[in-house]
Every structure is written in C-alpha cells, then in structure tokens.
Subunit: 417 residues, 2 copies
Amino acid sequence: MGFIAARLRLCVALGINHHRLTAPSLKRFYMASKTQVHPMEITFLGTASAVPSSTRSHSCLSLRIGSDVWLFDCGEGTQRQLQRSVVKMGRINRIFLTHLHGDHIFGVTPLLAGLLNGSGGVTEGEEDPRQFLDVNNPAIEIYGPLGTRAYIRSSLTHTYTTLGSAYVVHELRFPDDPKTGDFTNLRRHRSESPSGRNIQQVDGLWRDILTDGRISVSAAPIQHSVPCVGYVVNEAPLPGKVDPQKYIPELKRTNTPMKVMRDIQEGKRVKLNDGTILEGPQNRPGRKLVILGDTYDPSPIEPLALDAHLLIHEATNAHLPGVDSRTKEEDTYESIEARTKSRGHSTPQMAGAFAKRIRARTLILNHFSTKYAADEDGDDEAKLIMDTIRGQAAGIADCEVICARDFLSHTVVVPAD
Amino acid sequence: MGFIAARLRLCVALGINHHRLTAPSLKRFYMASKTQVHPMEITFLGTASAVPSSTRSHSCLSLRIGSDVWLFDCGEGTQRQLQRSVVKMGRINRIFLTHLHGDHIFGVTPLLAGLLNGSGGVTEGEEDPRQFLDVNNPAIEIYGPLGTRAYIRSSLTHTYTTLGSAYVVHELRFPDDPKTGDFTNLRRHRSESPSGRNIQQVDGLWRDILTDGRISVSAAPIQHSVPCVGYVVNEAPLPGKVDPQKYIPELKRTNTPMKVMRDIQEGKRVKLNDGTILEGPQNRPGRKLVILGDTYDPSPIEPLALDAHLLIHEATNAHLPGVDSRTKEEDTYESIEARTKSRGHSTPQMAGAFAKRIRARTLILNHFSTKYAADEDGDDEAKLIMDTIRGQAAGIADCEVICARDFLSHTVVVPAD
C-alpha cells in the first residue's frame, strides 16, 4: 500500500478528516512510513507577472507532498485554474505567500470561500450552521509577511463571508515590523483562529517555521520593491538505497529472519544469528526545494538554499535582440537588467547566476512578463522566445533549466547519487 | 460616420482621453447626435452562483452603450474573462456592484490594477510616476452599497497597489446605514478621489444616481441575505421613426430645402415654403434595462422597473424532476423554492413572475447554481436542463426568455412599435 493510500485509509479508519491531523499525529504517521519516499510534485497554476494573458494566469504554484497540497502564492483566478488542473483542491491545507502584491494574493480569499463553503449567506431568521465552526481547529494554514492577516480579515469581513471551517495566518515579521498586533483595526473574523503566530527573524532568517514530520519549511527575506520572502522546503534525510545482493545472501546463510531487512532499510545496524554485524546503508540527503517570490536579489536566502534540488526563480524580463521583434534598438542587456531591477525583478541571466551560486540541480524560470506567451500552443515565435530565455539562464546556471508554463507539472525526484 | 466612430474621432481631434470627458462635455456631444440610436449590448462575462465551474465564471456582465462599457458586478477572474470576450477593456469607465458578497466583487480590485497600470512597484530610490495622478479626474466610477469604498480601499492598501489613474466610489446608503463616513479606519488611498458621494434613499429609491446625456441610472433595494440593489438603466425618449414617404414629396412640392429633415427627425414642427406646417414624428420611449443582483424578492424596485425592455434576473436553483438526475425524491417545487428563498435566491418561476409583473419584453435568467453547466458545449443533459429552466420561467413570464451563459452577447434593440 502506497504512502498516500495508507494515510488516507488511516484517516478513514480513525474517522478523522485528514486535513485536521495535528502535527504530533502527522509525525507519528510519517515515522511509521519513514522508509517510504513521498511523491513531490510541483504544478504551476499561474506563471504571469503583473497582468494575465491568454496563456498565463496570475502567480500560483502547488506542491504536492504525499497527499497534502500546499500552494505558493495565490493570484486572481487560482480557484478556476485549480479546477482545470490535476491538483486536488480538497487536499490544500497550507498556503505560503511570498509578498502582498495583488497579482500574488488576490485569489486567496476567493479560494478560502470556495474551499471552505464560504460563498453566499442566509436570510434573516435562518440559522447559518457555519457560524458554529471550531476556530481552534483550522483547516488551512496561511504563511505570509505582515499584512497577510489584515488583508484576508478585511476581505472576508467586507464581503460578509462566512466560512464552514477555520483558517489561521502566521506572519513572518521583518526586523522593522511591529513584533505583535494584526495591522488592522478590524476585529478577528469569526473564522480566523486566534492561534496565528508572529514569527520573528533570527540571524536574518525564519528557520523551521513549520516542521511537519519529515518535512520542514524555512524562509528568508529576498529583495523586491515590497517586503518579500522565499521559502525553502526541506525533506529530512532519506534512508539509503539497499542493495539486496549485499544483504539477502547473508541473511539466508545465517538463517536470520527476513524481517530484519526493515531495520536495514532504515539504516540501522543489525546482528545476524551468527553474531555478524551488518550496517544498513547511509542516509541520503532529503530533497530541498527553494521557491522564491519576486526578486532582484535573493542573496539573503543563500545560506538556506545551498545545494537545492530545485530552485524556482522569477525571470520577468529579458533582452532578446533578433528574437523578439519588439526589442528596441537602443536597448542593451545592461539597460534591460537595470530597468528590470528598478522594478524589483530579475532577468534569466540573474536567475541562472543565483542557481549557480547555490549549486541548484534544476532551475525553473517563472513569472514572465505578459509579453512572453507560453509556448504550449505550438506558436513558433513564442517557442523561440521561451527557448532563448531558457538558454540565457542555462548559459550561466550550469544545471537543467525549464521555463514554467501554466499547468506544467514537475516531479522532484530523489537523485540516484 | 457612426456614433461610436464620431465620438472617438472627436476625442482624438480634441486631444482628450474619451474616458475623461466630463458630464457636460458628454452631454453636449450626445445632444449633437441625438437622432442617433446608440448600440446597447449586454455581454455576460460570468454567470455562476457562488462557485465557478468549467463553463461558468463568477458574476459579471458588461453593458456597452455607444463606445462606453459599464460592468455590473465583478467577480473573481473578470479580468481574464474580459480578455477572452468581445468587450473592449479599455472602454470600461463605470462599475455597478449589486452587493458585496465575494462572488460578485472579488474581481474589482484586480481589474482596477489591470486597467489602471496598478500591478508591481518600484525599488527604493526609484520614483514611481504613478504617484502623481490627478485624483480629481477619476477614470473609473464605482457604485455599490455601504462597504464598497472600504473594501476597495483596504484591498489596494494592503497589497501596496499604486494606480496610474484615479477611481471614485459612490455608495448607495440604506436608511439604517450611517449617512456619512467610509466604514473603515484606513486613510483614503492615494488613487481614490475624494469626490465619492454617499447617496441617500428618497421614498425607498435611489433615483437618477447618474445622468449622463441621454442615459440615466436609478437603483432600488432588492431583498437578499445582505444589502443588495438592482439597477435600472433608462434611455431618454428617442426620436420617432420618420416615414420619408410622408415628408419628402411635401418638401419637393414646396421646394423646401432638404435640410429641414433634420428638424423633422428630431420631432420638431417645421414650416414649409408655402406655409404648410409639418409635425415631426412623436418620440418613442427609450430603452429600459433592469439589472438585478441576487434576490428572493425584488419588489421594492418595481416602481422603477415597469415596462422594461430587458430584465436580467437571477435563477439560482430549480426543481427539475425527470430532467436532473440529482433531484431527490422528497423534493417538491415548494421545498426547493423555500430552500432557495432561505438562501436569498430565486427559482426560474419566481424570475418569470417578476418579469410578468413589470411587463418585461425580454427576461434573461442569470446566476445559476454550479450544478447547472452552461449548454454551449453541446452537452445534451446540460442543454435539456437549461431548456427546462428556461421553460419554467417562460411558462409564467409571458415574454421572450433566454438563459445566460458566459460570453453570450445580447443586443437591446429599440422595438418597432
């Protein structure tokens, strides 16, 4: 039985909503399956910068880990993009916001309303069962900078939204931010859990803002025009690969029960029936995913991001002479880079350089100007432009480079080495 | 030269943005073309209730009058629906909100950002030219109930949105609402014009909240689970149809210059060269459009809505035994109507009855439960369901009945009689 199925069946057996598993119960369950490697799959739901186009929706990507789905940013229209994608909406239990620009967060309140039965109301004299929800048991956790709580609270309050389950907002506070408070005079919405934390930086980082069994999440500031963060998803070390040729003959020779293979698979030292000691294989590093918001310089996150298996980095603007007919004669790479930086953004070359610095294995470019149509529809010009953008990053990055497009899925595999 | 082209050319000639035409200049211009009949076209951009589906987006419809485009409601994703439609986004200069439920307004701030160059920011040390906008010259006027101003202001403020043009919010205040104030402690956003009015009811109605040359808009409360309004768009009387057979021979006979036909077309009395008096044709009533938000009882708007050329009325839920396989055995029309009303909504029969009461010429049903897919994709079951819904309303309405679907356009013609 696979991990996903196992967890779901456990939930059904225990009569619990899998979304409501508390951290300790999750941890116990992950422990029971710790020799398993959870599927990790990214699906891009929106890859546009600022304004959507016919081929790109506003910023959002999903990360499936086992049966959980986490979103990173949530631009307008995320709800409908999810409906059109392979992502299971009902599995979303965490949303990580990189910054509060509207093209990254306008979809979060509509999504809460859609997921948590929040649309519509009842007439006077009718009783709305949704008012009796348990705020101490939030179905969705949201992480974001100061103002996330105020934004969601005011959106829900002004639109008379009543949710059928609770949500909680944890804010990543910058050194200049107030350490406490909610940044709004509005009272807590009745669907908002009071357990939202205000997480302070330590040594310029927010380490382990979330530890959930075998997965932890850390964050760090990255440079943009407004406070912005990048997230690092860390998987705990994975058991090494067991070479059966090395162990099975020994077990047979000594008539040792095969069940010790489980300990070997977990990397333990086992004693065979004849006293021989066998060492399980050494652990392999778990996968590391670095998911950045908009930035013209992500270097503050470097200490957390080294040796990432996957880096997702924006590449809003590019200089494409001879490829993009809209290129102006007076433009140079330097002038485009300067203009891009002045808006808080990056070029493909800048993304490639950061991928190289952190020794990323794969770089996915994301968050493209509306000028750059996605190439999935076979448009030759769009394809050439995206190929060139990819090449500009790859020429520097020294790793695999992919250009994101809406609905692209990418599985993060555990490297063989 | 048609009216639209004429107005555009005038704008170009005068070097003015046609959106910035002030009311008096618009009036003068409309006067100059008052024998023309402006095209009036409705385009549905979203026809879903509460939650979108693959065939229906969140509530929004556009009304094109001449070259202006007005939106009624603006649910999530309106911006992208507009991109896919025949509607010219750049012509939008007014947005009318019926109520503040999220499925009707979550798209308004993203649309402002998209239309008015509002996405993204600049880094420290850079100067954002958008900060120097003229707040006394708003490009977009928004009408809605109390809270509209607070909602938009807080969305823009929390998302650090800087707009390149100003907007203004006029609120329709109910008798129990505070007469003044903005319903928020947030300071006015720097893109928000201070000229927003708080419009009080007189005799239970908001008459002539806007008069714009040959068009005026009035509003009235309608019953829903939260404060909700319906809008009535009134066209001033139109010149009667001129029968050339009646006039031309007389002009020829008396050797009167043909240019008097212009006066005749405007319904004036003219004196021919031989002293004969000719009367121009009597004016015909202008078109009247009644556009309702969510409601279980729109009767307060009846005095404004009588003899509407077009009524747009919601029909969220229907009882469809033998047609919709999801119908429960214990359901009756009465039980469905009671449940629908308890949520603040209507059935097709209720919409039909109101159409009959106001003697509407055409009824368009709108705002369907997510259960009812639009039928444009040739799905037989969806088609049968929508046909049945239409039939349920038509059986009572005694007028033409149409079911809205996304991207449906409907031209409101001046009746021949």
